[in-house]
Every structure is written in structure tokens, then in C-alpha cells.
């Protein structure tokens, strides 16, 4: 908004007591001890030019009076409001077990600092519940620290809900070869306690994994409870927006004074036929914030927000990058490199069009495949990669769990 010329008063409200910080290191170098949690504070040109109301949660929204109700009993009035209340870690299904000493999740700075302390104390065994990106990153950190670790997930391979088994299997192999005890097709049932502390995971098949640390990595829940009663269309999946980023009410009418951005915003993506998606990606949070910032500052609406989703995940020293959304893919092809070399690019297709690409240690090739996604080019891509000029592509089922 400042860059777009808005020079009026700005208040930034946050339930955490910290200025904005960078989350990706929390599940990586903060856990290894290479970085303390507090150095993750982000560069910002805002400085003291805004009013920071930190450590105060928003608890309600009254759109008629244009006020936000606060946890400390106060209120904040607005001319324009941005909803960027994000997500929190999805808690373990049984509250009492989730509160046991020794059970952790990672979302905020304090979570990461607490888990770091626990890992540094040299636990005998770590159980990571959930083999999504965060779970895989934490498991890799444990191996970097020399800690025995089990990675537990009901899917057949790590990340397979997002990238499918065809691409997930070779990534799982990398973790296995680094010493991670992969427990795929295994569902955690109970977190057991002994002397009031977490002592192990009981799987649905009756197997017990003894561990003194559990990391619950079951994804995120969107922080929308405070919007109850506001009349906005919001649920645990996010707050709905129109194509520009203005939030809509239960009858689909946009509120011209309120926009949403980041993890919490569910918006119609032009690349996916206008289907509403909420993206938990770092780059998306940056790009969409810039988009709605201009909007709230009064700039012309221009084109709908249409940035192509992309993200990265660093797992040990392996980098997994992705462009587009794999959801609904009916085919995948390794177009570049070789999974055996731990270095490849996979392109996903849906109904004969390229919809996503995943690159493992192949960042320099991703932009080329990214263009296939942006233009919804025909799948399979017909062009030979230069490391396989005359090989034909092996088209496979993505194998989503």
C-alpha cells in the first residue's frame, strides 16, 4: 500500500508478539540450531511508519460499523481492511494427548524454538506424524542431527497426497537412504504417555513406536473463527474472495472495503477454471499481498490475480520445487533427469494439458516447464529434453494417495 502511494495511517494487528518473520527456516535451520528463531525477522521498509498492535488477536468483525473486535476487549475501526489471519498447525485429534510434554507442532517462532530445545537435548527417538512437506523437512533435520526418526503416514509414500506416488517414491527413497525409518501405509492412532510424558505412538495396526518426541505435522487449519457472524463466506478452508481479492458474503457479494491475502484467502484461480483455491505458499503470500495492497490503496482493479502457484521445500540438502497445482492430475511424465540420480523434473497433465511441474534439484530447468503450465500447453509435452534427445516419454499414473 505504501509503494502504491497510500500515506494514511496503517495499523498492523497480530496475535503473536513479533514483527513479521520468515517461516521457512523454522522447520529447517532453526531446528538444526544453525539459526536462532529470532533472527528470522524479515526485512521491511515499513519501519515505524505503521502502528504495530502485536500480541493482540482479532476476535470479531462488524462490517456494518467497520470495526474489528480485539482479544483485549478493545476495538479497531477501519476504512479498509486486509484479512491475512493465516493458518495454524492442525492439532492432534485427541486434545489431551496433543498437550502431553514431548508433543510438538511447528507453525510459529515459539513452536520452533521449543522443538529445537527438545531436539538439542538428544532424544532417543523422534516420531514425526504426517509425511507432508513439513514432516519430511523435520525428519531430514533429525537425520542431520544424527537422531533416530520415524516418519509415519497412511499414504504409500511421502508427499503422495500432493505429488503422487510416482514422484513421492523416489523422494521417500532419499529419506530412507539417509536413515529415516519410513512408516508408510501406517496410521497413527494414539499418542501414549508414561509418567505424564509422551512415550510412543500406537499405530492403527497395533504396532507401537517408542519415542520421546512427537512432531505432529498434519497440515494447517485456517484462522477464520473470528469471522463468524460477520456475514462473510468463510469456513475452515478459508475466506472466499472474488477474482480481485475482495472478500464476498454468503450471497456472493463482494465487500469493497475488505480484501484477503495469503494462506487464508480462497480465491478463484483463472488457471484452474475459476475453481476457488487457498494456497499455503510463501511466494503466493508475497505476490497476493502486493496485489491486494495496490487494490486497497485505491489503484485500478486491473486484471484478476493470477500468479502461478509455486513453492520450494528443502529436505536435508535436497531441494524440491513445484509450479502449478497437481490436484486432479491424471498423468505424470519424468521429462528431465533421472529419479535414480535424485535429480529430475516431472510434469503433470490433466485432460491433455500441462497443469503442474515438480523439480528435484533441478531449479534451473523449472522456468522452462513453468511456461508449459502458464500456457496450459498440451500434455505430454512433445519436446525432448537435451539429456534424453531420442527417448520417448514414459507416461504414468501420478498415484495420488
Amino acid at each position: 500500500m505504501r509503494a502504491a502511494g497510500f500515506d494514511g495511517p496503517l495499523t498492523i494487528l497480530g496475535d503473536e508478539p513479533y514483527r513479521p518473520y520468515d517461516r521457512p527456516p523454522l522447520s529447517k535451520h532453526v531446528l538444526t540450531g544453525h539459526l536462532p528463531a529470532d533472527v528470522t525477522q524479515l526485512p521491511s521498509s515499513l519501519g515505524d511508519g505503521v502502528a504495530w498492535r502485536l500480541g493482540v488477536a482479532a476476535t470479531g468483525l462488524d462490517r456494518d460499523r467497520r470495526i474489528v473486535r480485539l482479544a483485549d476487549g478493545g476495538t479497531l475501526s477501519y476504512d479498509a481492511l486486509l484479512i491475512a489471519s493465516g493458518t495454524r498447525a492442525r492439532p492432534w485429534v485427541h486434545d489431551d494427548e496433543g498437550r502431553l510434554p514431548g508433543v510438538f507442532s511447528i507453525r510459529g517462532r515459539d513452536d520452533a524454538a521449543a522443538l529445537r530445545t527438545a531436539l538439542a537435548a538428544g532424544p532417543r527417538h523422534v516420531a514425526v506424524i504426517g509425511a507432508g512437506f513439513i514432516g519430511c523437512e523435520v525428519a531430514a533435520v533429525c537425520r542431520d542431527l544424527g537422531l533416530p526418526v520415524s516418519l509415519i503416514d497412511p499414504s504409500p509414500s511421502p508427499l503422495s497426497r500432493v505429488i503422487g506416488r510416482t514422484v513421492g517414491d523416489p523422494i521417500g527413497e532419499v529419506h530412507r537412504s539417509r536413515g529415516v525409518d519410513l512408516r508408510m501405509n501406517c496410521e497413527a492412532d494414539r499418542l501414549e504417555a508414561s509418567d505424564g510424558r509422551f512415550s510412543g505412538v500406537l499405530l492403527k495396526d497395533g504396532t507401537r513406536i517408542a519415542a520421546d518426541i512427537a512432531v505432529v505435522a498434519l497440515g494447517a487449519v485456517r484462522n477464520t473463527e473470528w469471522l463468524e457472524g460477520s456475514g462473510l463466506s468463510a469456513d475452515a478452508g478459508g475466506v472466499d474472495c472474488d477474482e480481485h481479492g475482495f472478500v464476498i458474503d454468503g450471497r456472493g457479494r463482494p465487500d469493497p472495503f475488505i480484501a484477503a491475502a495469503g494462506d487464508v484467502a480462497r480465491f478463484p484461480h483463472p488457471l484452474y477454471g475459476g475453481r476457488r483455491v487457498a494456497l499455503e505458499h510463501w511466494g503466493h503470500a508475497v505476490a497476493q499481498a502486493e496485489h491486494v495492497g495496490r487494490l486497497l490503496a485505491g489503484e485500478d482493479r486491473g486484471l484478476p490475480y493470477a500468479a502461478v502457484p509455486n513453492f520450494w521445500s528443502t529436505q536435508g540438502d535436497m531441494v524440491v520445487k513445484s509450479v502449478g497445482l497437481t490436484e486432479g492430475a491424471d498423468a505424470v511424465a519424468i521429462v528431465h533427469g533421472d529419479p535414480k540420480e535424485r535429480r529430475f523434473v516431472a510434469v503433470y497433465g490433466r485432460a491433455g494439458r500441462c497443469i503442474a511441474a515438480v523439480a528435484v534439484d533441478s531449479a534451473r530447468w523449472l522456468p522452462a516447464y513453468s511456461r508449459l503450465i502458464e500456457t496450459a500447453a498440451p500434455f505430454p509435452p512433445d519436446a525432448p529434453a537435451l539429456d534424453r534427445p531420442r527417448k520417448s516419454l514414459d507416461i504414468r499414473d501420478p498415484g495420488f494417495a
Binding site: P24, G33, L35, P36, S44, G283, T314, D317, V319
Partner: protein, 77 residues
């Protein structure tokens, strides 16, 4: 690379790299070897809060990044 976890830093610079953009050209690692490192083939690890004395090298790193992925805030300027 000094250990950012233990060394005291007053009034540090703030550095952030857009790792979506990063393609591991490693120019930052040559420009400011104490603050940027590549692990494996392309996993960049960097110091998000280098001391202000490193300003010149951090600036070399920022400006030489082929994909312009490095953002720096310098509270001293």
C-alpha cells in the same frame, strides 16, 4: 560461516532470499562466503542477520545475484 546461533549481533542487517527464484548460481557464496553457502546441489543456506560490518560483501552478493532474489534491509542507512 560463523555460527549465527551463537555470535552476538547488534544492529544487524536483515537478509531474505526468495528461494522460489534461487537457482543456486552461488554468486552470493563467492561474494560473501561467510554468509551464504550451498548445501548439496542447490540448497542455499544463508545468514538472515549478518553484522553491519559485512555490509560491503552482502551488497556484492545482492547485486550479483543473477535472478535478483536477495533482499536486504540495512537499518544503519
Amino acid at each position: 560461516m560463523p555460527d549465527p546461533a551463537t555470535r552476538p549481533v547488534t544492529n544487524p542487517l536483515r537478509v531474505n532470499v526468495d528461494l522460489n527464484l534461487c537457482q543456486a548460481y552461488a554468486q552470493c557464496c563467492y561474494a560473501a562466503p561467510r554468509h551464504f553457502r550451498i548445501d548439496g546441489r542447490e540448497a542455499l543456506f544463508y545468514d538472515p542477520a549478518p553484522s553491519a560490518e559485512a555490509r560491503a560483501d552482502i551488497e556484492r552478493a545482492r547485486i550479483s545475484c543473477p535472478v535478483q532474489a536477495i533482499r536486504v534491509e540495512d537499518p544503519g542507512l
